[in-house]
């Protein structure tokens, strides 16, 4: 790709990752959440693959796999957190802990501290989707040039 594409890709790559993190973090206040933010952040990997060729993603197969595994295990462990009542019980909502403030009733500007286990599950699913989609794109990019025919 030409110099213009490479320069713009270098500028845009952290912006895309930060926007994906914003969509994941405010998943319990605005439209979005884990799956949407993970897909937005995985488009940064697609930009890297298109602008710089397949040789720039050669070392990224193992980190994406580890990221996906950690996200999946964290999601299941968060489900077991409220096993006293039922599986996937929202234990931290309204209890004053990590994300535990009570939400104001009715239309309001949104408080970040609310939600209970929902923001933590957003982060777990966001990492899982980013790792999964990134691994798929890296595998498709590396398959094209292994042997010369």
């Amino acid at each position: 790709m030409s110099v213009v594409v490479k320069t713009i890709a270098r500028i845009l790559l952290p912006v895309i990752l930060v926007f994906g993190g914003y969509v994941i973090l405010h998943g319990h206040l605005t439209p979005g959440g884990g799956f949407q933010g993970g897909a937005v952040a995985a488009s940064a990997v697609a930009l890297l693959l298109v602008a710089f060729g397949a040789s720039s993603v050669k070392k990224l197969k193992t980190p994406f796999s580890i990221l996906e595994d950690l996200g999946g295990v964290a999601f299941v462990l968060l489900g077991f957190l409220g096993i006293g009542t039922t599986f996937f019980f929202n234990l931290l909502a309204g209890s004053g802990g990590l994300f535990g403030a009570a939400a104001p009733i009715g239309p309001n500007p949104g408080v970040l501290n609310t939600g209970g286990t929902v923001p933590l599950m957003n982060w777990a699913v966001g990492f899982k989707v980013l790792g999964g989609l990134g691994a798929v794109m890296v595998l498709f990019g590396l398959f094209g040039g292994d042997d010369d025919r």
């Binding site: 206040l29 605005t30 439209p31 799956f35 239309p107 309001n108 500007p109 949104g110 798929v136 498709f140």
Partner: protein, 115 residues
């Protein structure tokens, strides 16, 4: 009956995808047809939950005293979109491997088992 246009449009999308699935020979075009069918079904799922003059079911900066749209079809459509993504990734991986081994992408020439 003229008010049911969103439902009919979703059915037209499903029919276009079905036509591309049945009457085209290139494997990539068949995969595109399957994706169009899935898009039509997801659009139909979201369209069943609309309430007349309803707003988005989110309480952040919501207008006062507004009826909200049903949220359950939107939650199920999220799951359906991710499953469609998984299916498409597997189908495209198969298409790449078939092209690598048989040098063709025609669906009617790869019907023989080898080995």
């Amino acid at each position: 009956m003229i008010g049911n246009v969103p439902f009919v449009v979703c059915m037209v999308l499903v029919l276009l995808g079905l036509w591309a699935l049945l009457f085209r020979r290139n494997l990539v075009k068949v995969v595109i047809g399957i994706k169009i069918i899935e898009n039509g079904v997801n659009l139909y799922l979201v369209a069943t939950g609309y309430v007349h003059k309803g707003v988005v079911p989110i309480y952040t900066y919501a207008p006062q005293d507004a009826a909200m749209v049903l949220p359950t079809p939107q939650a199920l459509t999220l799951t359906s979109i991710v499953i469609g993504l998984a299916t498409t990734a597997l189908m495209l991986a198969f298409a790449v491997v078939i092209h690598r081994h048989k040098k063709t992408l025609d669906g009617r020439k790869v019907t023989e088992l080898s080995g």
